[in-house]
Symmetry: C2
Subunit: 392 residues, 2 copies
């Protein structure tokens, strides 16, 4: 009984769990043959996973004779995560299971400018309310995912000089929420979590996807080879201050001129419409005017789409995505924006990069962020190392 | 003896080998405790790897009493790969070990326009000569890596409408070379293999690197989260036909106007110098003029650097690399090109993305491609699945 001398290290449990994450029921034999590990090791690990609830019995396999063997499968309902999508004036929270299925959800008005402590205290309170609504014990909560409307250093979860979040620079967002909720907290910028949410919910089989948010600002989240790419400081996808080719010399709030945001974001379109005497103060007004059929608003949005298309053409040449998803409130204006984007992207990019490229509006809409925060939080606790810690 | 019923599946050998790839010597006990596998399984797998030569004895570990246990380590000299870097008029081939150490190397003039069969026949002949020079048996060759000067569908290894490779469109490059050499052949475009080579040889600890080649064309290879990112059709990094912000309406060979290549590649600089009456027909002439101290050539190269900087500023905002490496023949002009690039990138990108950004010239120079082809070929045969196949 050589193998009894080898104490099964906790690391092995998490790795074996990865084989079960696809949700397919498997027998102990299946797992032994997939891993090459001794049956006694497999049996101990299956027991540990059953004990944690992450894996549950899934009936009996068909047998070639004798007693049919029991099967086991990943049980996403075993634990829950809290997903938090914070904007400048609005929040959306959800409690989901480990597969991102929403169990309870609520949006409300907030003022991000109140600063981290009051905003995050309210997040924790509402999170606990949502857990109660979902009839889940607070001890079932394993992690929190948070999206913020500004640059975030992903490794520490701290905002870095966020322009529209006064008082939040370098705030210990994970520390403040962990203190209240007692679990790990993952933080990213809003556009990255929207990209992750849209990808997980609607485009899981697409490996190269660019998610573009057009709202008060313009930004992108990059999915490449199936995963979000944040770059060296977590600043990847910052399209808003790229110079528009053949663009204007309009001043931008960043200090440069001709930035994409200065010519094509919601406020720029609203300003152009106001100058024509239309009542357009923000992105929502722009969307309402376009939907009401106002031709000037339609033209301005299409023009904004063309400017965005100029920058996206460079992104297409650079990243060669197969899918560009356009989200954010201005995308709710619909086809006018997409028509402008498509016109320029297909003209300005090389045929090899555009022949299979689709450019579409977001399928998850206003839920993209909260779905992405849930995915980020769940991924964190389902890694091999995290499962080892959970069952040990 | 429960574990005897479990036939150790070949898959386990390759996975165990991954633990040894860092080159550190380990004992059977180390491996048992890292994997949680039974000692008898470990012993069988170590024997299989010793038999293949991929792992070799590495002396004895220090002992706490009793006979000191034997250690084993990855042996990169066990096999060799052939690395092939093909340009329009020049080839460079090398035989390297599995760590990319060059054992024999040769460059020569070629004409890529002769078409795939004569060019690849010569590659195979020269590859066999280099194996002999390195005193390695042809049976030690396990794979070939090839870089081509045009777009390549990486999954099939076939060129796709390559503009400067007449006769090569959709050519079965892997098939032709495998027929001669009997091993798997990996193909990618020249800029991607240069990025891989520069990263492997000089920047292994950098996770986000952009390699920019400035020569007859302009292109980039993207290293993100430590790996090359090719995009959906393998077309990522195609900077040459991005419109230069504030650029000219110079016609480009692609049919558009104002492309980066049309204003800043070697031929464009040479044309601008010719128009001033200087003897500059190609990139090499431009480099020679700059090196001779010609002030007009210096100014033109710096201007080209500024145009490249306009496009790289967008790439920095988009990808947030920590390192940009500039290679290709025009980079041999030195600081003038880099000064132009730096001037615009640091002015046009946001502080978060540039505060830790370095912009440097290639350390591997003309060897970047061949080193990258070797790395690509070696990675392919050292994956878990490939090692399983090798030892089974």
């Amino acid at each position: 009984m050589d193998e009894l001398k080898v104490a099964p290290r906790p690391t092995g449990v998490g790795e074996m769990f990865q084989l079960l994450r696809d949700g397919q029921p498997r027998t102990r034999s299946d797992l032994a043959s997939l891993t090459g590990q001794a049956r006694s090791t497999i049996a101990a690990r299956v027991d540990a996973l059953l004990g944690s609830g992450l894996v549950s019995p899934a009936g009996e396999a068909t047998s070639t004779g004798g007693r049919p063997p029991a099967t086991f499968a990943f049980n996403p309902a075993a634990r829950v995560v809290l997903a938090v999508d914070l904007g400048a004036t609005h929040s959306r929270l959800a409690v989901t299971d480990l597969a991102g299925t929403v169990l309870a959800e609520q949006g409300e008005q907030i003022a991000i400018a109140d600063g981290p402590r009051p905003v995050l205290d309210r997040v924790a309170d509402l999170g606990l309310e949502l857990l109660a609504q979902a009839r889940r014990d607070p001890r079932d909560l394993v992690s929190v995912g948070v999206g913020l409307p500004g640059p975030v250093e992903h490794s520490t979860g701290r905002p870095i000089n966020p322009p529209i979040m006064p008082g939040w620079d370098d705030a210990d967002v994970p520390g403040l929420l962990t203190y209240r909720l007692g679990v790990p907290v993952l933080v990213d910028n809003d556009v990255n979590i929207m990209a992750v949410g849209e990808h997980a919910a609607a485009w899981r089989s697409v490996d190269h996807l660019l998610f573009v948010k057009v709202a008060t600002g313009i930004g992108a989240g990059i999915i490449s080879d199936g995963a979000i790419r944040r770059g060296a400081q977590g600043a990847a996808g910052d399209l808003g201050h790229v110079a528009v080719p053949g663009g204007s010399d309009l001043p931008c709030r960043c200090g440069n001129t001709g930035c994409l945001e200065a010519v094509a974001a919601g406020p720029a379109i609203a300003a152009a419409l106001s100058a024509r005497g239309l009542a357009a103060h923000d992105s929502a007004d722009v969307v309402a005017l376009v939907r009401s059929g106002d031709p000037a608003a339609g033209r301005e949005v299409r023009d904004a789409g063309r400017h965005i298309g100029e920058v996206l053409a460079a992104c297409v040449s650079m990243l060669n995505p197969s899918t560009i998803v356009v989200g954010g409130i201005v995308a709710e204006a619909g086809e006018q924006l997409l028509a402008g984007i498509r016109e320029v992207v297909y003209r300005r990019s090389l045929p090899l990069a555009t022949q299979h490229l689709r450019i579409v509006t977001s399928r998850t809409g206003a839920r993209a962020g909260v779905l992405g925060a849930a995915t980020m939080a769940a991924e964190h606790v389902l890694s091999a190392a995290a499962v080892d810690a959970l069952v040990s």
